[in-house]
Amino acid sequence: MYGRRASQLLKEVDSCEAGQLVPFNSDVFDQVIRECNEHNTQFQSLIRKMVEQNLDIETTRNDDHYGAAVHHLSLLRNKRCLMAYMYNRAEVIQSFRWKIGPVLPHEIQEKLHFSEKEYFKNHSAAIKSYMSEMDIDLTVDMVPPKDPYIQVRVLEDIGEVSLGDHSISLTKNSLHFLRRTDTEQFISQFWISDMELVRKHNQADSKQEW
């Protein structure tokens, strides 16, 4: 049936989870392109036949006219499907710049048509040039900020520690307010504990009593 392959492409897009991408289906894509050219050949030959019979192609309504119309419309439908396929994929691909970054991981790269790789690069460049014109980085701060400082209790004597522009002394059981980012290495080693987590933990415990 004419147009079936093309609709298969769209079904792939449609069945894919929003924002996700399936590998570019070059087999089916190329088949549809071949179908288009085949439709065109058929269309041209029917028109030629009508011309050879000295029929007015504008007004004649014979079998050949309707045959030509079917090929013409099938080609148009295929074109719509191909365009929709590429456009929808391009929308997902450009969203990767915001969600992933300027360099796509290998497993995504291999899902892309070569023109899609180029499109991603060009589109990222457009975002980059907007950001440098505006002198602002829009790829950070994707979620609302939280208090960057946390209160911590020191569990082990750590001693003098340099944090950015100043140093502080972390002695056992002392309480400090530090930037969350500065504390991560110590927390992960259980040298200090996040008081908010401690309090939440205690609250959760006391809640169970109710």
Binding site: L10, D14, A84, N88, V143, P144, I150
Partner: protein, 228 residues
């Protein structure tokens, strides 16, 4: 149909709604002396020990976390007031009681960071949860009453987080009715003749609205809605 899943339906994330709520003004009682803060979001302070001061919620929480103040529970967050609100919510099935637009986020932030400043915290929390439940039930019931004749919905006193949660359902429902009630759908029904016209009591309006047909053809959806 893919064309109906509009990505714009969930437009604010819960953390964004909370971000907005953090600008609500609350009262704190500092235990320190501090110069006035002349911030981008406004001027606050100066602060003196034991003298109440009004600041945005995010600032209150930051000071509280640093052990520099207590946060005064807002008037509406007391057992008495909330009990009244809950009773009233239950008595009036079609109305929402007036509460701060961000009552859910404010109470959550206060429970998370200033629980020890809230008297009867446990009771207050369960009252707020009950109020939420009653209100959500009302929203659900309200959704069922939407019909093709609904061209506007008034939701007096609905809060920010409630808006955010109900939005996808509400918009999808209204849009579906609006779409099926649209002139080209009616026209199609007219043309087939066999099916009853969905809206028969509109008379002249149908013709008047027919001129809008072309502008409303779902052409913006084409890329997504090639019939499969």
């Amino acid at each position: 149909m893919a064309g109906q899943s509009d990505p714009h339906l969930s437009i604010f994330s819960p953390s964004e709604v909370e971000f907005v709520a953090e600008d609500e003004i609350v009262e704190i009682v500092p235990n320190i002396r501090m110069e006035a803060l002349n911030m981008i979001c406004g001027d606050f302070g100066p602060f003196f020990p034991q003298i109440a001061s009004k600041v945005p919620l995010w600032l209150a929480v930051a000071l509280k976390k640093r052990g520099k103040c207590t946060i005064r529970t807002p008037d509406w967050m007391t057992v008495d007031r909330l009990t009244q609100v809950l009773d009233a919510e239950r008595e009036s099935p079609k109305e929402f009681q007036p509460l701060p637009f961000h009552y859910i986020e404010i109470s959550k932030l206060l429970f998370d960071h200033a629980r020890d400043d809230i008297s009867d915290a446990y009771l207050v929390r369960s009252l707020i949860e009950d109020i939420r439940d009653v209100r959500f039930h009302k929203v659900e019931t309200g959704l069922e009453t939407i019909s093709g004749r609904t061209h506007a919905v008034k939701l007096k006193n609905l809060s920010a987080m409630e808006v955010n949660i109900v939005r996808p359902f509400m918009v999808r429902t209204l849009q579906a009715f609006y779409k099926h009630d649209s002139p080209q759908m009616i026209q199609q029904a007219d043309n087939t003749g066999s099916r009853p016209t969905p809206v028969t009591d509109r008379g002249p309006r149908r013709d008047l609205r027919r001129s809008l047909v072309s502008s409303r053809l779902g052409k913006n959806w084409y890329l997504l809605t090639v019939n499969l």
